[in-house]
Each structure stands twice: as C-alpha cells, then as structure tokens.
Point group: C2
Chain length 196, copies 2
C-alpha cells in the first residue's frame, strides 16, 4: 500500500538517471507528435522525435496504449476531479452533468483521433479504454444519479453507456468542419431530460 507504481507515472525512484530522463523526453515527444499527427502516429515517429530507438519506448511503456495513457493521465485526472466540484458549484445536478460532459467532450475533441482509438477494438487499446472507464465512469455515475434523484433526467441510463456514447460522438470531430460533435452531444443530453 506504499508506492504502487503500477504504470505510467513519470518515474518511480530507483531507476537509472538516464532512464528517468528518457522517460520524460519520451512523454514530451509523444505529446508533441500527438498534437501534430494525432494519437495514431507511428511509434517510430515518436522515437525519432525523442531521438531514441523504438526499443526504448517499449522499455518504458509496454504498449502504445500505455504511452497514450501516460501522456493524458493528468488531464483525465483533472476531468475526473472536476465532477464532484461541479456538483457542488452548480445550480442543479443537471447543470453539473452538462458542464462535466462539456469538459469531457472538449478534452476528446482537441486530441486528434483519441476518441477513435478509445473505442477501437484493435487488441492492445482495451487497456486504454479500461483506463478511461475506470477513472471516469464512477464520476459519471455520481452525476447521473444526482440528476436522476433530483428528477431532472429520466433514470435508467448507465454511466458506462453515456460515456461510450459521448466518446463515440467525438470520433472524427476534428478534420471535418461539417461535423460538430458538441452539437450532437448537446442533443443527446437534451434527450435525457425528463419530459415533464
């Protein structure tokens, strides 16, 4: 119950100094490549940008998905923590829910291809999917239940389903000006309202 360190935090103590440095470099390089070419950018591109060999990437991140998780961990964390905060600061649970979803959508839409890879059934990316679900679903459940308890939305929708739906709607939202994920997500949430 001490360090844990089951994954992608920058660096647990007791690694070689150069290794720690490389991990940092790698995260920066990955982040910048993701911005430039999307999350689906080839591993070799990231290695090149960081000036290391591909083997080095895999030493630090067992799979591409783990690298992606590591890059976005802080933002996912922030999104998760924003949930309860919104619930306190908002007029009604429904307002908190919509704002939280907006946050989530903003996050997804600004990361090229992240939403797509999130739902990809390609083996390997299920750990990415799981990470997002594990971290965000409880928050979604809390908001949904609060809004349902307040009678603002029709009950019976699982947070899992909502989050996947929202995630799906964000796919391809970049590189297509004719498609505005935000508008559709807004419709979806509007459909949740209690017809009262």
């Amino acid at each position: 119950m001490n360090d844990g360190g089951k994954g992608a935090e920058p660096a647990a103590r007791s690694k070689r100094a150069d290794a720690r440095r490389n991990e940092e470099t790698l995260l920066d390089a990955a982040a910048s490549v993701f911005v430039a070419s999307g999350v689906e950018a080839p591993v070799r591109d990231i290695a090149a940008k960081a000036g290391v060999g591909v083997g080095t990437i895999y030493r630090h991140f067992p799979t591409r998905a783990d690298l992606i998780i590591a890059v976005y961990r802080h933002q996912v964390e922030a999104c998760a923590e924003a949930g309860p905060a919104l619930l306190e600061s908002s007029e009604t649970p429904y307002a908190a829910l919509t704002q939280w979803i907006d946050l989530f959508v903003d996050f997804l839409v600004t990361k090229h291809g992240l939403a797509a890879v999130l739902q990809s059934d390609n083996s390997g990316f299920d750990t990415l999917h799981s990470y997002f679900i594990d971290r965000l679903q409880p928050v979604g459940t809390q908001l949904l239940e609060a809004a349902a308890a307040a009678g603002e939305i029709r009950p019976g929708l699982e947070a899992y389903e909502l989050m996947r739906g929202v995630g799906n709607l964000c796919i391809g939202a970049d590189h297509d000006p004719r498609y505005d994920a935000r508008r559709l997500v807004a419709l979806l949430i509007a459909g949740l309202r209690q017809p009262r």
Copy 2:
C-alpha cells in the same frame, strides 16, 4: 449514358465467364467472412475462403472498401428507398424519421465493425464513407426537412451531421452487451424534438 458500370455491380457484360464466376464467389465469400469475423477481416482470409489468390480480389475490387461497398450495396439501396416510403406510410414525418433511423441503426449494428470502418480516417475508406453519405444523406435531408416543416423537431441540424452522429453511436455496439446503440440513438432523436 448507357451502362455506366462505375463499380461494383455483380458483372457488366463482356467479361470472361470465369471472371464473372469469381466475382460472384468473392462476394459470397466476403459476405460470409464479414459475418464471421467482421468487416475488418484480412483480405487474405476472404481470398482463402473464396479459394482464390489475393490478386484476384484486387482485379475485381480496386480496394478493400470497394469490396465492402459491393457486399452491402443492396442493403444500403434498400435503406435509401425506404425513406420516402416511410414518409408516405407514417402518421407524421417525425415517426417516419425515427423508423428510418431505426432501419439504419439495425443495418449498422448487425454488421460487425462496419460503423467503425465507416468513420475510420484510414486512407482508402473515405470512398466507403462517401458512398454511404452520397446515397443516404439526401434521404435524411428529406426526412429532416419534412419533420422540421411539420414543426415536430427543432430545425438547423444537417442530415450529414445526424447520419454521422448515428453512425458513430453504432460503433462497437456489437461485442459489448453493456452498450446499446439503439438506446442512445433514441435519446439523440428524442433530443431533436421541438420543446413545445
């Protein structure tokens, strides 16, 4: 303005008999492999199932996407034609719209991975995307405009956006019992209703 034949219909006249036979075999094999392993099944699997070499596939279908189009062309056609029919047979345009969307969703959800590949930004699949849009968007527009004219839905949503949204919601709807695309699509359409 005579035959046209720009593509994937079973066989234009004046091809060798064995070629025509192979094309048929290929379509059957592809259809059955798609059912068994999804649309993303490797080309080699389809070739094997059909008992031909991969070269033969590419002689008949310039790209994987064209093969997929050819396999599903009839069903897409049927869906497109169902639009105006529903508009006539239904009580209201909104009812026609929801039923048509149901048809579309049923189609997508029962074809493993088709929805995913439809939105994939992998090069080559844009022709698949285009085909669906070209064929179905006008129908969607007609239904949307009818419903809007009847004052049943809030106006201002483009058919393109709706269809992409619905398509996106169908991604991964198979192989995940916790995710029911139909429910979410229903919410989306419910959100379209005029708040009146």
